[in-house]
Structure formats: C-alpha cells, structure tokens
Amino acid sequence: MAAASEIKERTAAIAAEYTHLEGPLMPILHAIQHAFGYVPEESVQVIANAINVARAEVHGTLTFYPDFRREPAGTHVLKLCRAEACQSLGADQIAAEIKANLGIDFHETTADGALTLEPIFCLGLCSCAPAAILDESRVIGRIDADKVAALVAEVTA
C-alpha cells in the first residue's frame, strides 16, 4: 500500500482536476476509487480541503454509497445478485454456501487477498437468475455453489 504522504499528494492532484465542476465531490470520489481501487482514509481530508468542505461532509457522502470501498479489494471481485428474481431462485442459500466455502462474509476478502465477495442488487439478468458478476466484466447466469467454486478456482489459480 502506498505511503500516506503519497496518497495525499495523488489525491490532491486528482481532486484538482474536478474542482471547477459544480458538485465536484462525487466525480472526485469516483476518480479516487478508480486510481487507488478504493478511497483511502488519508484522502478524506485532502478532498475536503480541495473543495472547501468539512471532512465530515466527505465522510457522509462516502459512507452513503456502499460501492465506494474503504479498503483495497482482493485481486478479483465477485458480486452475487441479491435482488428479487435471484432471491426467488435461491440466491440466499447459494450465497450462504459460497460464503462458507470461501470462509468470508460479504464485503470481506479471502486471507490470501485473491477474492473479495460482495452483494449487488440486480444485474438485469433476471431471466438467468440467480446471477453473479466477476471483476465487473464477466457475467454468469444460473449459478450454484459448485459453478462458482470452479470459477473461483480458475481465476485464482
């Protein structure tokens, strides 16, 4: 992980690109997450200074959106859909099994840092429920615990 001073410097440079916007906080948070893979704690005050708001306000916005990460994710991110269609086809049960297999809960990362597990609410794949998405790019339909385990083994090998 980068040193605090480096994070602050990079944050300031990124934030400076957006300060001309009206309502620059959300674009800055997205850009920071894009750059670091998460929004580091050290960035909060720097962002606040850049747009002249209090760090409490940055914190309030940051914590409102679960998609803003507070810690770096694993090498891969698996998101399991928890929306109605998937739930009706057993998504909750499958999620429980996957958690047990990986030994982690939602929003956690495996001990080797290979995989982060997250819930997501509707991928628009209701016809193939239950669904999941890996690394924001690979969508998988009609999942079960075994199918997911195989996929995880494949990418973390």
Binding site: V44, N52, A54, R55, A56, H59, G60, T63, F64
Partner: protein, 960 residues
C-alpha cells in the same frame, strides 16, 4: 420563578411582508408568505406533532410525524416543508393522520431503549413527549436488529456504538439517536462548522463527528448548538447527566466577550445546571459558544477567595480580616497617602467585566471621594482608539450598527479581527450571511480561519505586515477616490465638502497608491485595488474591526481611516453597512460609556465642560476637578517616580494584561497601598496590600453593554459566595471614607445614570425588563433605543474626513530582533484566562504557543513543539513552538492567556499617539531554541508563591 420554556415554532420565521390567511382546524390564521403550515399552526396555538423540525434550523421533512391533510390536495404532506397558501384549509388531526403517526412512532420506538426513568432526558425529551402526543400504547416489533443493546442473543451487536464522552461538557450516546439530523443541521446552519454528518444510510444511519471520530478529535468547537437541537438524550450536557434536569431559570447576559449573548441560567435550587442560549436574545438570537455555554465552572472554583485580606507589605503573608476592617484599612491608607503625597497620589481602575453600575460607582468614588480624575479602565489597552477615532469622525465613540445588520450586508471588510476565535457567536452570524453569498475582504497578517473555512472563502486576503494598517486602509481610499468610485451625493449631503476637497488632495497623492504601499505592507497592489473596488461597488459594505486595528502606535489614525472609507462610499446610516468595532470584553463598551476615562464624565462628556460638571456636582454634592486625571500608564510612571502611591483596581489583572510587565511590576511595587478587588488572587494581587473578594456575574444584578451598544440585564441567580456584590463592596469603601452612599439595589444606580446622562435618559430596570434590551442612545426621542446610528445626520453634524498619514512605528525589526511578534486569542480561552483556565476549556488550550513560519523555524533549527525563547528589548520568556504557515515569514504570533508565559514581558511601552493604547500588535523579537524557562519566569514563580501565602488559623496556606 419557573423554568422558562420557549415556544418552538418548528421552522424559522419568514421575513416576507406579504401576508397570507389560511384555515387550520377551523381557525383562520394570518402569517407572512413563505411560513410553513407547521409554524402557522403553532401561531394559531395548535401544535402539530414533530421530531425532526425545530425553529433553529430549516425544515427537513424526514420524521414523517408532522403530516397534515389539506382540502383539495392528495396525500398527507409534511407540514414543516409545505408553505402556506391563501385560503388553504388544513386538518392537523384526522383518523388517517392519527393512524399514520402512531405507526411511525411505533417504528421509532422499536429501535429505542425503553429506559425513560433512568434516562438523563427524562422530563425533557421530545421523543417521550411525542410518543405521548400520538397516543402510542404498544410496540409490536421485537427485533434483534437494533442500535441500543450491546449484545443480541449472546453475540456482540455490531450496530451498537459506545457512548462518546470525549467532550468535557456533553456526551454523545448513539444508542438513543433517532437520526433526525437536527444536530447535523444545527452545526451547519447555525454554527457553520460542519463538524457533523450522518454516516451510512437507511437503518444504519448514525450521527458521526468528523469522519467517524470522537467529538474531541473532530472539527467540533463545542458551541453546544447540537446539544440544544437534540430532541433526545443522545447529545446531553454532562451536568444534566450528573445532577438532573433544572426546575427554574433566569435570563441573564454572558460575561465573556463583547457580543453579549443572552442566556437562560437553568437552575436547581441554587445550583447552576446549565446555561442555554435565549432565543429572544437580540445579540445572539439563540446561539452560543463554548465559553458562555459551558465555561462557567470558575464561579465555583476552589481558588476563589471569599474573605477580605490585608497586609502591611507584599513580602508578608495575607491576613484574613472582616469586611469592615478591610474597608477601614483602605480608607485609612488612602487618607494618609493623600495627606502626605497630595490629593492626586491615588486613583482607581474600573473593570470592563463588571456591570455598568459597578463601573459608574468606581469613577464616582474617584471623582467624589478621592477628589481627582485619576480613573481609567482596561479599554485603555484595547478600544480607546475606537472611542477617540469614531468620536472625531462621526461624533460617537461606538459602533454604528446592531448585529442583525449583518443579514443585509453584501460585502464585509474584516480588519484585524478574528471573530471565529474572539467573537464566535457573531462569527456564526457572519458565516451564515457569507454562505448566502455576501463577499469578504480580510486585512490580517495571519491566515485566520475566515480566509478559507468550509463553505467560505474570502474574495481578498491582504496579508499586511504588522504595523501597516494605516498605509493599506489609506491606499484603499486612494483607489476609491482616484478611480471615481466614491459616493459624491452622500459626501455632499452628509459631510463637509470643503474638508473632503482637502482630504481628496491628500489621499490622491502617489505616496498612498497601492503600488507604493505594496513596498511597505507586502500586500500586492492588485489585491488592494481589487478589494477597494469590491467594497466600493459591491452593494452594502460593512466594516468589522478589532484590536488588530487599535493596538498600534497609529491605532486612532487607523480608526479614522476606516471611518473615511465608510463615508467615501456612503456606507453609513442604514441596515447592512457601517463601522463596527468588535469589542473584546463583555462590558468594555459600558465601561467607556460610564465615564471611566480620566478626561470624561459618563456619556463621553469632557470633564472640562462646566455644564456637565455642574450636573454631577449637584448630584454628588462636591466640586469636581476640571483637569483630566492620569491614564493607567501615567499612573505607573508616576508610581515609579514616587508621586503616585495608592490604587483601587477592580476586576482587571494589569500585571498580566498590560504591556511591558517589568514596568507594571515596578510601578505596583513602588505603591504603598494597592487594593485588588477580584475573584482570584490574580497576578496583580502579588503586589497588593488589600484583597477584596469579588462576585461573579451569576451573583449580582446589573447591566452589561455589548459591542452594538446594547444594554442587557444581568440578573442574580445565586447568592455571592463572598457575601457581597461588587457594587456593595465599592460602597463599603466609599462609606468608610465618609461618602454616605445609600444604594440598596443596582437599579437605583442606573436611575442615577439615567438622571445625569442624556444617552441613558430612557433606561431603567423596569424598561429593560419590559423590552428585553435597548441600544443607547435611549431617551425621549428613541424610547426603544437606537439600533442604527447616523441615519440622517452624523451625531456631530457633518461627517469629518481626517487626513490619515502613515507613520511607521518606531518598533521595527532589525539585526538583533529580526521578527515581528503579534498577539491574539483562541476560542476556548478568554483574555488573561483567569476564568477559562479554571474550567475544562483547558483541554483545548493548555498553554500559549508561538506560531512561527517553517522558513523562520528552519533557519533557527526549531522543530514543532520545541521550547523556544522569545526575546524583545523589553524582556524574555519561553514557550513552545507551533511551526505553521498560518503566519507569514518574518511574523510570529502568540496568545496571552497564561501567566506562565506572560507574553507581555515582551511587549513594549510604545502606544497610540492619541490614547496611549499599547502597541501589542507589533513587537520586534528574536526567537531561539531554549534550554529551559527564562530567568524571569523562574524568578516570577518564586515571587508569586511567596506572595500568595495566606495566614489561616496560625498556619500558612497557599492561595492560588
């Protein structure tokens, strides 16, 4: 007496002049356009249930309890966010509404502990009240998902958060939070600090200080607005947690800064439970700061001395005596001194912390009893140049506006004042207006908070070199005149046109141009030009200034330069404009008004005037001396010379607060009878022969006059710990001298003031009780007082332009002393700290530190936190370094709150040419790494310890 319960209208008042009539539950009610249904209903006497609404903040509409039905409209809109409209028919109580409200309340209570009986808010909880209001009888939900039990089914509850007790004055208990966000909005809208937020969302929403920090680590300034806004026990004063809720309250006035906030002192018996800002207080409009709200503990501090004490010489220990013996001691000593050394050999100093009535009595004692005019006051060392400068230019020695005026200001010019630290409640009102779009110009050597703080950024910061105010302000006038931005019509009508011609000739000279002044002041010429244009053309321009203007060798000149600016631009005589000194102490305005100066009788009337003298001669039955007496520095000089031998000092610690401590000490040491009348054995008392215990503002009746000339009542809420109010003690001395005073209540003193002083002619306690407060002049033509002065004419007739030539101070940096020291205050401490150091406020400021720029620090090998020596030609002390870019290179800064540092050892005897106001704001100094405390500090401690011994039942104890 009972507990004053102010009506909460739910949403702020609308200022519209258009009226709208609607019908609420069958009653017609007429309110200003823009009023919420909730407020209109409350005005009709019908209280709509509510939780997230309170009239200190804007409507939010989140609690869903205040729903109403409106004829012809669908649904159940929230009454707090729905404005009234003509002919609207509103129903606040229907079967549908009752059912919805009960359901909403049931959900709230399902995530709230049911420990009402042992809860600190029991009896003072809006959630409890509203549950009763909606008739909640049972809660059907029994859920494991909650925020208030540490454990759920034997496992730790991840939603539960521990109580945060980090703030010394209040607690944050997240388990009782209903997420109404009233605290967050109060912090933002009222205080303007933005220290709080709601973190998370939905059921996980919780109030967070900073970024999930403890309150003490966050940006919180402990103003108390959140505590006041909280409807439950979530944010609660520790005093209420410890003692219980109050049962009666008395409205009084804060005894800290010159804002003069009104508070309800909420009591249980004679125990003060809490100070709550009073909504009807016209200075503070229901807001407070950490000092007035919480830092009253000094009143019951064990250091308070409650028995009179005397000693023959200052190397002896103190001896406790009866009050009568103390009075006799003083009267005998003063009489024998005057017999030996002449009538002019004694004098008195009035206090800016005591009431008008007490101050009036001290100058009366001096003039009537001592038979001379040797009376002065601590305003000598702060705003005496304001009195002189504004008196010369406009004809009155006071600010021109009320604080409400700021709500109409478009451009604020802030000169040498740091209101977020020194006048916090007014700074919140400024910030509110700035967030609404007003522009800001700051002249200050330091990067004070208002230069850039969340949601506020000054358009111009002119970081001038200390000592160059007159040059820069005159340069602003130069730009306004040479660029033709002045208001000719105003000047022709209101000022002397010929005088203006002379002034114009003076100010247009090239030596006052921004380009030349840049060289003296270090302020870029373009910034001076931009600031001048903005002030002259930006709409209503108001100037606010502080001691950074007055405490200079050209303090009076700077005040006149400011007065010129306002006249040039026509910014005088209406709301939103004016010249407004921010006065430091609670009653420094009043002390000046009451004739505390050696050349003036009450009401700023010169002692040489026979008519004026006659009024008092008749009232007091003596002949008054027509020559002015000695000022404080003259008294000290005379003492060193051996011609001034006795002094009565009420409520002022001149040894710590006045410049050049060595000289003050030498003066005091040379006197035969120094009488100190104070709460504590202060630093001056080390040189005293008589100590008369004082009373706090909580223990007496009287009035304070704030920076806007507002005369506010001070009301007694408890008996004086020392037995007597200060006015009674002064009367004790007077009567021991045979003056035969017979006051039985301070109201009689005010009556005497009203009888003798035209600007106070209409003031009486009955009148003040009736109308709350008045701003002087208050007389037959203005029975309700005068919020804004000089409306059609200046008090002196025509406004006077005065040429303001810049003369550099003799105090300048050189090879031996290459840096310039300037001084100031912090939020949590007050003046010499005698009060605030004896409260939990020390958690924010344990010691004075020296701010130094990284460049200057590096040159000297100084790191953050190092002990450094600070030396000037006057003396040397030591303190810790704070390496920061708040100060410019070449400038260092510190505060004067702690006697351990005693920064006035460093300051010099240079002073304002007109008024002798000391030049605190500029001292040439050198800073170096220190190996230990200075010799002077060690020596001083030894002397202080020796001097504070008290003989008690044959034993020596140490007073502190």
């Amino acid at each position: 007496m009972s507990l004053i319960r102010e009506i909460d209208y739910g949403t702020p008042a609308s200022t519209s002049e258009t009226l709208v009539t609607l019908n609420v539950d069958g009653f017609d009610v007429t309110v200003p356009e823009g009023t919420s249904i909730m407020r209109a209903s409350m005005e009709a006497g019908i209280q709509i249930p509510k939780l997230c609404a309170t009239d200190m903040v804007e409507a939010f509409g989140s609690c869903r309890l205040c729903l109403v039905e409106i004829d012809g409209r669908n649904g159940t809109p929230s009454s707090c966010t729905t404005p009234v409209s003509p002919g609207m028919v509103v129903h606040t109580q229907t079967e549908k509404l009752k059912k919805i409200r009960r359901g909403v309340m049931e959900l709230y209570i399902s995530d709230h502990p049911l420990d009402c009986l042992t809860c600190a808010a029991n009896g003072d909880c809006e959630l409890q009240t509203q549950a009763g209001v909606v008739g909640l009888r049972s809660v059907r939900y029994n859920v494991d998902a909650n925020h208030f039990t540490p454990q759920v089914r034997g496992e730790s509850n991840f939603r539960y958060m521990e109580k945060d007790e980090s703030n010394p004055y209040f607690t944050y208990d997240p388990s009782k939070c209903i997420a109404c966000s009233r605290c967050v909005r109060a912090c933002e809208e009222v205080q303007g600090t933005f220290a709080l937020t709601i973190e998370g969302r939905g059921f996980e929403s919780r109030v967070s200080a900073g970024a999930h920090e403890s309150f003490i680590d966050s940006d919180c300034v402990s103003c108390g607005a959140c505590v006041q806004a909280c409807p439950t026990a979530t944010l609660m004063e520790k005093s209420v947690v410890e003692i219980g809720i109050p049962e009666h309250s008395v409205v009084t006035t804060c005894a800290y800064c010159g804002v003069g906030c009104s508070f309800k002192a909420e009591m249980r018996g004679d125990e003060l439970i809490r100070m709550v800002p009073f909504k009807d207080g016209k200075a503070n409009r229901g807001h407070s700061c950490v000092k007035g709200r919480f830092a009253y503990g000094y009143a019951s501090h064990p250091d308070r001395i409650t028995k009179p004490m005397v000693r023959e010489s200052i190397d002896q220990p103190w001896r406790e005596v009866s009050w009568d013996d103390a009075y006799a001691f003083v009267a005998d000593k003063f009489a024998s001194i005057q017999k030996t050394h002449g009538v002019d050999s004694i004098g008195g100093i009035t206090s800016s912390r005591c009431t008008n009535e007490e101050t009036y009595l001290i100058q009366k004692l001096v003039r009537q009893g001592f038979g001379n005019n040797n009376v002065d006051t601590c305003a000598r060392v702060c705003h005496s140049p304001t009195g002189y400068g504004l008196g010369q230019a406009y004809g009155t020695s006071a600010g021109t506006q009320d604080f409400d005026s700021v709500e109409h200001t478009d451009v604020m010019v802030l000169i040498g004042a740091n209101p977020t630290e020194a006048h916090p409640v007014f700074s919140s009102r400024m910030k509110k207006r700035l967030r609404a779009g007003a522009k800001l110009i700051i002249l200050d050597p330091r990067q004070i908070a208002l230069v850039r703080t969340p949601h506020i950024e000054a358009q111009y910061h002119l970081p001038l070199q200390p000592g160059t105010n007159v040059a820069v302000v005159t340069a602003l006038a130069h730009v306004i005149v040479t660029e033709g931005l002045y208001n000719e019509q105003f000047i022709r009508e209101r000022c002397d046109w010929d005088e203006f011609q002379e002034y114009m000739e003076f100010v247009t000279d090239l030596r006052h141009s921004p380009e030349v002044v840049e060289g003296l002041s270090g302020v870029p010429a373009e910034a001076i030009r931009g600031a001048a244009r903005l002030y002259a053309t930006g709409g209503n321009g108001a100037i606010y200034y502080g001691l950074g203007v007055t405490e200079h060798s050209q303090g009076s000149t700077a005040v006149m330069a400011i007065a010129n600016l306002a006249m040039l631009t026509g910014n005088i005589g209406r709301p939103g404009v004016g010249v407004n000194p921010l006065r430091g102490q609670n009653n420094v305005q009043g002390a000046c008004d009451m004739g505390s100066f050696p050349h003036e009788l009450p009401g700023y009337r010169h002692i040489a005037g026979e008519d004026v003298r006659n009024i008092f001669e008749e009232e007091w039955g003596v002949t008054l001396v027509k020559e002015p007496g000695l000022r404080i520095p003259n008294m000290l000089d005379a003492a060193v010379d051996g011609t001034f031998k006795g002094i009565y000092i009420e409520g002022e610690d001149i040894l710590q607060s006045d410049p050049d401590t060595h000289h003050v000490a030498a003066g005091l040491a040379a006197m035969e009878c120094v009488v100190v009348h104070d709460l504590f054995l202060n630093e001056t008392a080390n040189y005293a022969h008589v100590f008369l215990p004082g009373s706090t503002f909580l223990e007496k009746d009287g009035t304070f006059t704030n920076a806007e000339r507002r005369i506010n009542r001070v009301r007694k809420v408890m008996a004086p710990k020392n037995g007597f109010a200060d006015w009674e003690v002064t009367m004790g001395i007077a009567n021991a001298m045979g003056l035969n005073w017979t006051y039985t209540h301070p109201s009689e003193i005010m009556d005497e003031i009203a009888r003798t002083t035209p600007s106070f002619a209409g003031v009486s306690y009955d009148h003040l009780d009736e109308v709350g407060s008045v701003q002087w002049p208050c007389n037959e033509t203005a029975p309700l007082g005068t919020p804004i002065m000089h409306i059609d004419n200046f008090v002196r007739g025509k406004g006077k332009f005065i040429n303001t030539e810049y003369v550099a101070t003799d105090e300048r940096s050189g090879p031996r002393f290459p840096l310039l020291l300037t001084t100031g205050r912090v939020l949590s401490q007050y003046n010499v700290g005698a009060q605030t150091r004896r409260t939990a406020n020390v958690i924010w400021h344990e010691e004075d530190v020296l701010e130094i720029h990284p460049h200057d620090a590096e040159q000297r090998g100084i790191n953050h936190g190092d002990l450094v020596s600070l030396a000037s030609r006057a003396g040397e002390t030591s303190l810790r370094a704070d390496v920061t870019e708040r100060v410019a290179p070449g400038v260092v800064y510190t505060t004067f709150h702690h006697p351990d540092t005693q920064v006035n050892v460093i300051t010099t005897d240079f002073s304002d040419w007109a008024t002798n106001c000391p030049e605190y704001k500029v001292t040439a100094v050198q800073v170096a790494l220190a190996t230990g405390r200075s010799n002077w500090q060690e020596e001083y401690d030894r002397q202080a310890e020796q001097s504070r011994r008290i003989e008690h039942d044959g034993e020596l104890i140490h007073g502190d």
